[in-house]
Subunit: 202 residues, 2 copies
């Protein structure tokens, strides 16, 4: 590693801290920065600075935005009676990209995981309950991940929302479109059987 | 994509310009930056700035360095009679990591590829010939890639170095350690046969 100048080693180490970026990729990215003109490379540096300067967390839904309330919370054309609950920012985008959902969001900023020391109080669940209890909400769609932590988090929220009488829904569990039964995991097929639907009339 | 604030979209697009970083990864990296504290994120931004401010190209070997001549060219403990010729920076590091080479380097900054409009004059070949003709060089190890462009570049340099009488060598071509003949490409096996060596005495 000491084949590189100090500042390059530092850059490689910073790239290497990012998720999914190993040593090799970090080196390739640093080489890319070295090859760029100063102006081009500074566009990335400035983009990072601008994001940290401009982007805040929405105090209502905990989404990121340059304004508070965020562009979703302040968009009057959206369905203000539905809240989609996601674990994190990236999940919000995944939902938003489908174009199938036009309601509001609530970003939990994680999932319940006692093993990792993440308890309900470390998340924004309390704020969600306040939002729902403040009224006007008819449905809460729990879009946490379909794994143990996501399920536990959904269960916890469901339990605490029950008294409010609001409709609580969960993302459908089944086989992904395009999949072959032959290669599917038993647990996934079992879920698909449990959740079977009536065929739509032709 | 307009689910994200403007500054985040800009950051995703900047990350997306980097090699091997697709849209999905760029989004994940941007989410990582959003999650970081401002201080942590600025370390990456500053590392990029510092590299562009501090790192220059060595005027002798065209390696990158914070000094000119670079740390390799000015290292008197290295073998100053051998030059290893590589296409690019990343290749220099690959060689350096093996610890098997203790001579000097020459970074071509590319390879000859008439189809891409890269002619010998666009590379640092002229400078390499000057270095060799200035004397004291006994061996030039051509470590360009083992593909068509790398071979063509090596051939071109070899032709132009012949009059100088310097020893010109090329990286060995053969089967990679750990490989199985059964799965090896015919051309690679042919190379390994052509380049066969005497077994070392036990």
């Amino acid at each position: 590693m000491n084949a590189y100048p100090q500042s390059v080693i530092k850059l490689i180490s910073e790239f290497g801290k990012m998720p999914g970026i190993g040593q090799k990729t970090a080196e390739r990215l640093a080489c890319y920065i070295l090859k760029q003109t100063t102006e081009e490379a500074m566009q990335l540096a400035c983009a990072i600075r601008d994001v940290k300067k401009l982007v805040k967390t929405c105090s209502t839904c905990f989404n990121v935005s340059e304004n508070d309330p965020c562009h979703i919370c302040s968009d009057l054309s959206r369905d203000r009676s539905t809240i989609c609950v996601v674990e994190q920012l990236a999940d919000f985008l995944t939902i938003e990209k489908t174009g199938k959902y036009r309601g509001l969001y609530h970003v939990l900023q994680g999932h319940i995981s006692p093993l990792e020391g993440i308890h309900p109080e470390s998340l924004t669940i309390e704020k969600l309950l306040h939002r729902v209890n403040a009224g006007h909400i008819k449905e809460v769609l729990l879009a946490t991940n379909l794994n143990m932590e996501g399920d536990a988090t959904a269960l916890y929220i469901h339990k605490h929302l029950s008294p409010s009488g609001v409709r609580v829904t969960r993302l459908a569990r089944g086989l992904p479109t395009g999949s072959y039964l032959e290669y599917a995991n038993t647990a996934i097929v079992a879920d698909a059987i449990n959740g079977r639907n009536e065929m739509a009339e032709v």
